[in-house]
Structures are given as C-alpha cells and as structure tokens.
C-alpha cells in the first residue's frame, strides 16, 4: 500500500534565520524535496531611487551606503563615478588609488561575511562566522580610521574622497596585507577539508554556463560557472589597468565553486592592495567641485565590479541640482533571478545553502 501524500507550501521568511534579511521564499515541498519556489521581495523597499530624485547630487551619496550595507565603499564608488562622467570631473591620481584600496578592502570584508554566513547556513553554529568576523573587524577598524564610520562610510566624493588617509593607515594596512593571506589559507583549509562541508556543497545547486549568462548573473556567481568576466578587466575603470591580478574562475558552477571563487578573489584583492600601497602617489585627494553641482543635460552609466557582482548606476541629468532619474543595477537582485532553476529538485536544507551561496544583501535587492 502506498500512502497518499501531497505537496505543501511553506513560507521561508520574511523572518527566518537564514534569509539574510527580510527575504521571503514561498516553497512548495514534497516531503523534504523542493518542488517549486517563488521569491517574494520588497519587504525592505525604501524607494531609494525615488528619494534620490528629491535630493541634490551630493546628498545622494549617503543613500548609496544603504544599498549593500555590508559593502558601502563599493556602493559609493560607481555613483560618484557616474556623476564624474556626467559633469566631466577629473579625479586626482592619489584619490583613485585610495578608492581602489577601499574597494578591494571592502571586497575582502564582504567575501569574508559571505563565506561565514554560508557556513552558518550549513549549520556550523556560528564558529566560522565568528572567525570571519574577527578578520572583517580589522578591515572595519581601518575604515573607521579613514572616515570615522564602521558600517555606512559615506567616504567618496565627486572628484576624490572626503579625507586623505591618516599617517597610521598605511602601516596598519601593510600589517593587514601581510597577515591576511595566512588567515585566508587557514580558514580555507579548515572549511574545505571538512568532509561534511564538501558533501553538502559539491555538486549542489549547479548553475550551468548558458543559464548563468542568460539570467545575466554577475560577479563570483558568474565566474564560478566558468565565464571569465570581471568589469575590472573587461571595462577597466579607475586605475585598475595598472595592477597585475587574475580573474579566478571555476568550471561546474556548484555551491563549492562559488565558495572557492570567493576565497581566491580575496587572495587576488590582497595582491592588488600590495601593489596599490607600493604605487600610492602623493598629492591632492579631492578635486575642486562646486557643492551645488549642476551637471549638463545628459545621461551616464558607470559600473564597477562590486563584491557581489556588477553594480551600475545610471544617471539622467536635466541641468538642475537634483538628478532627474537614478537607476541602480543591483547585482544581488539580478543574481537572485537564477535561484529557482538552481533550487528545484534539491532538499530543503540544500535550498538554504544554495540561497546562501548566492550571497545577496537585501538592502540592495529591495532598494
């Protein structure tokens, strides 16, 4: 005799320990197997794009902090780049280097958090998470040193950065750069040599290359699926063309590959930081820009390789103090579109892990 069973609908979130914010996943389960999911977003919608139209260009910089709030520096950067493109502002060389140092430190911090919370989704009771946070804390201390903030930095300005770095910053950064590879290796060894972790990650949630391209995912997710695509190389911005670094890619595109790409990217970021410290020129850090900036009529799009993928800001100016339109291409939101194809057919526990391996930030998804 076979028992009559029927699928049931379960709501994961919006208040759930593993949704990394207020994300809601309406999942149809057959026992433990996920048959269908429907992501429901919008719980954190603040209308940032609309608010930005009501404030002047400079006042919009703090708004960008609130997008991906664990990677604020990377959010400032494309916005000021878009405005600079629009108003044709030249950035001093030293400021470009400082921006890159900040962006790469932010990438390490964000990836540490991503790996830590992925381990948390796997059920490791916060231990890797705490160790990742210890390293992230060092980076956050450095950010505090340059701009006085620990989460929402509001550091970049049109034509440079708000303050020059203090004297004690470079020695502290050198210390971080020299110790970080050792820590990354240690954590990678502790995590990636664990049989249970491998069994949970390898082959799970495969995102094929074609699907990855068609769903327009970007960042570590795309590179894990075997596409060598990095804005820093293919559409080089700032002074990235002066550094030697590789684009880590993997082949299969499962959760393990996404984890591995992030670990390797942290190593590459350390490499860039080392070179940036060496090349850092003296000079001004902020070009002279009118506080009541009125860019000429026109439009501009600037994008960078943010920790989570391609982050782009599209600006339309009508020659007033306020932007006519600001649109944000948020990597988290677009990476999320591939979730359904990856999750279906896997167990509930895998769904959580696959979702965690995308590494989204709800501030960016809902805006």
């Amino acid at each position: 005799m076979t028992l009559k069973t029927e699928p049931f609908v379960i709501n994961l979130g919006p208040v759930h320990p593993s949704t990394h914010g207020v994300f809601r996943l309406r999942a149809t389960l057959d026992g433990e197997v996920v048959m269908d999911i429907e992501p429901i977003i919008g719980y954190l919608h603040r209308g940032i794009e609309k608010i930005a139209e009501g404030r002047n260009y400079k006042q919009d910089i703090p708004l960008t902090d609130r997008l991906d709030y664990v990677a604020s520096m990377s959010n400032n950067l494309p916005y000021v780049m878009a405005v600079e493109k629009l108003a044709e502002i030249a950035v001093p060389e030293r400021a470009e280097y400082i921006r890159i140092i900040m962006a790469e430190m932010q990438r390490i911090a964000s990836h540490l958090l991503a790996v830590g919370s992925l381990a948390n989704d796997l059920g490791t009771f916060f231990t890797p998470f705490q160790y990742m946070f210890r390293e992230r804390e060092k980076i956050v201390d450095l950010f505090e040193m340059v701009c006085g903030q620990r989460l929402l930095y509001n550091y970049m300005r049109f034509g440079g950065v708000s303050h020059d770095i203090p004297d004690e910053f470079i020695p502290a950064l050198c210390k971080l750069v020299s110790t970080m590879p050792g820590f990354i290796d240690e954590y990678d060894q502790l995590l990636a040599e664990n049989e249970i972790l491998l069994a949970r990650l390898k082959g799970v949630g495969i995102l094929p290359k074609e699907l990855a391209i068609n769903s327009s995912v970007s960042g570590p997710m795309l590179r894990a699926s075997g596409v060598e695509w990095d804005i820093r190389k293919v559409d080089s911005y700032s002074v990235y063309d002066r550094f030697n670094f590789d684009i880590p890619t993997e082949v299969i595109g499962d959760c393990y590959d996404r984890y591995r790409v992030r670990i390797q990217e942290m190593r590459q970021s350390v490499r860039i930081l080392e070179q940036a410290i060496e090349q850092l020129p003296p000079g001004e850090v902020l070009a002279k820009v009118s506080p009541r900036l009125k860019p000429p009529v026109g439009e501009a799009y600037a994008h960078i390789e943010a920790p989570k993928g391609e982050l782009g800001f599209y600006l339309v100016s009508d020659n007033s103090e306020k932007p006519y339109r600001l649109h944000i291409r948020a990597p988290s939101l677009i990476n999320l579109t591939a979730l359904r194809e990856m999750v279906i057919g896997w167990k509930l526990a895998d769904a959580i892990v696959i979702f965690g391996s995308i590494d989204i930030c709800l501030g960016e998804v809902d805006r």
Binding site: L29, G123, A199, A349
Partner: protein, 373 residues
C-alpha cells in the same frame, strides 16, 4: 499456576540492594529519587554553563561571565527568565498532545537514570536487564518530540518531527548493536556488572563499538552534526518552534538531561564508570561525563550539519556495517579465543578500527542527488 516467565515479580530487582544501604526499600526509594533528581538538575545546569563557556572559547569570545562567579548562575537566570515568560498555545494546536508532549519527552529520560550507577551500588534499582531498560525507555523521548511536532500544527515543526522519527529509527539500530558487544564481553545486562567487568575500560577492547555508540548517541540526543531536528538555519527550531514558557523549559531540560544521560552511559559502558584511583568514585564519573560532553561540544562548534538523506545513508551504509562487524569479531573472539591476552586484543581492535574506517570512508558516498521533478 505456573507461567513461563517464572522470575517476573515486581520486587525481583530489589533483592540486590547494597548491604550498606538502609534495608527499608521505601526509604531507599525516597532518598534516591531526591538524590537523582538533584543530580540531574545540577548536572544539566553545569552542562549548560560548561557548553556555553566552552563554545565561547571555541568562538574566540568569553561566553557568559556576568551572573555569579565565571557566569556559573547564568543557567539559573535563564530558567527564571523562561519560566516567567508567557505560555502560548497556538489556536489550532491539538491541545492534549501539545500539553503532554514535553512530559512525554522528559519523564523517560528521568526514569532511565534509575539504573545508572553513580558509584558502586549507588543506584535506585540494580535491574538485571538494565541496559535493555535504558534502550527501551530512551526511545520514548522521540514520541514526545513527534507529539510536539504534530500537536503544534506548524509545518516547520512537523518537518522536524518527521526528521526525528527517521533519525531515531536509523540510529537506534547501530547504537543497540554497539552495546551488544559490551554485553557479550560482560555476560550481563546489568550496568553495575558492566562497570565491574571493566578491568581495562571497554573503549580499549571495543574501539569500534565505542565509535559507533558515540556517533549513535550524538544522533540520539540530536546533537551536531545530526541536529536536523532543530536545524536552526533550515526549520528554525524544528519541533519546539511553537513552545514557550515552562513547556519550552521542559523540552530544554529533557534535551540536556538526555545529554547528561548519554554522557553517563558512555562513561559507564566504555570508560569504566565510577572506577578510578585516588578520587572518590562519583567524582570520577563526573570527570568522565564532562570529558565526553566536552567532545560533544567540540563537535558541535566545529562541524556543519548533515542533510537528511546523507544522515540516513551514514547510519545504514556506514555505521550499521561497522556495528555488525564489531559484533561478529567480538563473538568470534569470545568463542574461539577466550584466553587471549587483553593487550593483544586492544592492539588488534584498534588496528581493525583504523583499517575499517580508512577503507569504509573511501568507499562510502553520502550520495543524495537532485530529484527530477
């Protein structure tokens, strides 16, 4: 009238009262019930404190250190907090089942302690079928957990409850089979005699048995990496998601009492129980219990969680063959080579354990692939 079960009368177990205890059975019963309950409660409080402090150390933080010296009274403060919380019963809950569930989970654990020897002869009853009684009663806890999952009328909790039943059915078998090895060596089911028979602790004579028993008991008390029943990142709190106030406290107590019980059983079956030089016996038992629990905490703060199918595969394809091989080897040794020197057996068993684990873990695939929909 003659029956086949000749020895079955209610007082059969109490003939073996230790001579130095007052002969009055009821006095003995009263005193020991109080001692046992106090022992369980104090152990649970100490275990909670120990776990939180140790996990704190593993996670480069301090752990609770504000309430009392070294934060020792943190658990007491937590109990006061939990007990004063509002007791919420969901509207659509199956009220009777919901109310009974915490008790069904707690009472069997407390009952099992009746046969656990705290030191020579210091136990409520010295049942001659002690270990069978332990195995039988500790399975009832799962019924309590399933009742909780069913009664709360919540999808998360029913998933947790279903997982628990699957887990119990899978892990009970290797667990019991690993105990059989010990019973074979001792020739008795009584826990006192098992301790008495351990001139060399059975962990040395029965390393495979210990390995299987320890992993099985991790699954039995729903500890990491088998904490799927209350997997926080997946089903939030599993079976006890709808419980609050004193009912939650009861579940919490049941869970930690089971941890105390399994630590005490591991100490009794494999580590020589209360026996040890110099220190008083009860202290030896506590030291061994805390050592076992420290390893459980270590595992909890280190390992990720299994997926449900991997966990089942691990029980049936990895642990069960190991337990059967252990049983076979032990019986062969007892039948064909009873006069073998213990140390040769110790060496042989460890060699076999290492070889088996190496071979098995190479060929074992946790499996579990995508399901076509």
């Amino acid at each position: 009238m003659q029956t086949s079960v000749t020895s079955f009368n209610p007082t059969f177990a109490f003939n073996t009262l230790p001579p130095d205890w007052p002969g009055n059975f009821w006095l003995h019963w009263l005193v020991f019930t109080i001692i046992l309950i106090a022992f369980i409660i104090v152990s649970v409080i100490m275990f909670i404190w120990f776990e939180r402090r140790l996990i704190g150390r593993f996670q480069i933080r301090l752990g609770p250190n504000r309430v009392g010296p070294f934060g020792l009274f943190q658990a007491i403060a937590d109990v006061i907090k939990i007990l004063t919380k509002e007791d919420i019963v969901p509207q659509k809950a199956d009220k009777v089942v919901f109310w009974l569930a915490p008790l069904v989970a707690l009472v069997p654990v407390l009952m099992v302690f009746a046969v656990v020897p705290l030191q020579s002869g210091a136990m409520l009853v010295d049942l001659n079928i002690g270990i069978l009684y332990v195995v039988a009663l500790s399975s009832i806890v799962s019924i309590g957990i399933f009742m909780a999952g069913w009664g709360s009328n919540n999808k998360y909790s029913i998933i947790g409850a279903m997982r628990d039943v699957a887990q119990l059915i899978s892990y009970e078998i290797p667990l019991v089979l690993s105990i059989v090895g010990v019973v074979l060596l001792t020739g008795s089911l009584s826990l006192t005699e098992i301790v008495g028979a351990q001139n060399i602790p059975f962990i040395l004579l029965q390393p495979i048995g210990f390995f299987v028993f320890f992993i099985g008991s991790l699954a039995e008390i729903n500890r990491c990496p088998f904490d799927l029943v209350e997997a926080e990142s997946e089903i939030i709190a599993g079976y006890n998601i709808e419980f609050s106030g004193s009912k939650f406290a009861t579940f919490f107590l049941a869970e930690y009492s089971e941890a105390v019980l399994l630590s005490a059983l591991t100490a009794t079956l494999f580590l020589g129980g209360w026996s040890g030089p110099l220190l008083p016996p009860i202290l030896w038992l506590l030291i061994k219990m805390f050592a076992v629990f420290a390893i459980i905490i270590w595992i909890r703060s280190t390992l990720p969680r299994f997926r449900i199918d991997q966990m089942m595969a691990f029980a049936w394809k990895f642990l069960l063959p190991l337990a059967l091989i252990n049983l076979l080897l032990t019986s062969l040794q007892i039948v064909f080579w009873p006069e073998a020197s213990s140390w040769i057996i110790v060496l042989l068993s460890f060699a076999i354990l290492v070889a088996l684990i190496l071979v098995w873990s190479k060929s074992f695939k946790p499996g579990g692939n995508k399901v076509g929909i």
